[in-house]
């Protein structure tokens, strides 16, 4: 199979720049950058990584451009996007 990668772009994850390719999702770009822990479980505070990867489960929710509870496995990555780990259930700003 032939995968065509989009242009290389840069977004930030917890303040650090991460490079990605257009057309990827946020979770995939982070996985490629060796980030395995995307979220933290609410009660037992355990690490959560990619699980379903199709937007069904609640494992990859992160804060994207200030919006909490974004399913990063189905959120396309964009240049300049600000992605942050979400330590809790998410707060409205």
């Amino acid at each position: 199979m032939d995968f065509k990668r989009g242009e290389e772009i840069v977004f930030t994850f917890d303040g650090k720049p991460v490079s990605a390719f257009e057309g990827e999702t946020v979770a995939v770009a982070l996985y490629a950058a060796n980030v395995r822990k995307l979220a933290t479980s609410h009660d037992k505070h355990r690490a959560r990584g990619i699980y379903c990867a199709i937007g069904n489960c609640a494992s990859c929710m992160m804060i994207v451009d200030g919006t909490p509870n974004v399913k990063t496995c189905v959120e396309p990555v964009r240049a300049g996007m600000v992605v942050e780990s979400q330590p809790d259930k998410g707060k409205l700003t």
Partner: protein, 267 residues
């Protein structure tokens, strides 16, 4: 105040109650749905179209008392248990309440009638019990309490039959730490503990621990929990399927729904 206490004020109750003349004519539904929320099963469930069709999904239900026949259909459909049916019957008022707890009361049993704050206000006789996912329990109270009573409680704590531990293992720690419900952070151990405590239906586990009510809407956890229940109860999964399993296709932000409503009302 409703927003703070969860208890509607008398003026709000008066607003949704039918006129006294209508109450004399026969059973009629009372819908205590005071907040605008995106929810419309009541309007869709009414076989007489007495609950007027919603223009916007955020609308509060409006009921045409003349069309309503008090058939109980909407009671069972309201996810918020906000609907009851009332009628006068001789010297008594019959109050038909949605009820989701087990065990159910027996016909003829005397229970405490509760007001909207959950305080006992009188004795009530259970006159009818229609069992279901949402059961409908009819209780008879004195006529003057028709606008007061909104629930009931048992006089004595009901006995819950003991169950054996079946095939559930509670000691294999590695396996038990495995995550089952990712939305509400429940491990296999948590689920097995609840099942062995006697919560042996999906609906009970839902009410107890919110399984299937998070962002995944049960897509991750319900199949695993059904497997656990099936092993414990030695019942095929097809006989254990939840009464409602309708995961949303995609998540929708509440702000998107609310925005839509503002557009309409500002015109």
């Amino acid at each position: 105040m409703l927003e703070r206490s969860g208890i509607p004020e008398q003026a709000q109750i008066d607003c949704v109650f039918p006129a006294e003349e209508r109450l004399e004519k026969g059973p009629v539904a009372v819908i205590e749905c005071f907040e605008k929320i995106p929810c419309n099963p009541c309007a869709q469930s009414c076989p007489k179209s007495a609950i007027l069709p919603f223009v916007d999904i955020n609308d509060r239900p409006v009921i045409d008392d003349e069309l309503c026949v008090g058939c109980n259909a909407c009671i069972k459909k309201c996810p918020g248990l906000a609907i009851m049916v009332v009628e006068y019957s001789g010297e008594k008022a019959l109050i038909k309440l949605p009820h989701e707890f087990k065990p159910l009361p027996e016909k003829g049993q005397i229970v405490n009638a509760l007001n909207r704050a959950g305080e006992p206000v009188s004795d009530a006789e259970v006159v009818r019990v229609i069992a279901g996912k949402v059961s409908v329990v009819s209780i008879a109270v004195d006529r003057h309490l028709i606008k007061t009573v909104r629930g009931f409680s048992f006089k004595e704590k009901p006995e819950i039959p003991e169950k054996n531990m079946g095939n559930l293992e509670l000691n294999n720690t590695n396996e038990l730490d495995g995550i089952v419900c990712r939305c509400n952070d429940l491990t296999l151990g948590d689920i097995r503990k609840m099942i062995s405590d006697g919560y042996t239906t999906i609906d009970e586990l839902k009410q107890l621990a919110r399984v299937g009510m998070g962002p995944c809407q049960g897509r991750s956890c319900i199949p695993i929990i059904l497997g656990e229940l099936s092993r414990y109860l030695e019942t095929p999964i097809k006989d254990l399927l939840p009464t409602n399993f309708r995961p949303v296709v995609t998540s929708v932000k509440l702000s998107d729904l609310a925005e839509h409503d503002e557009e309409r009302t500002s015109v």
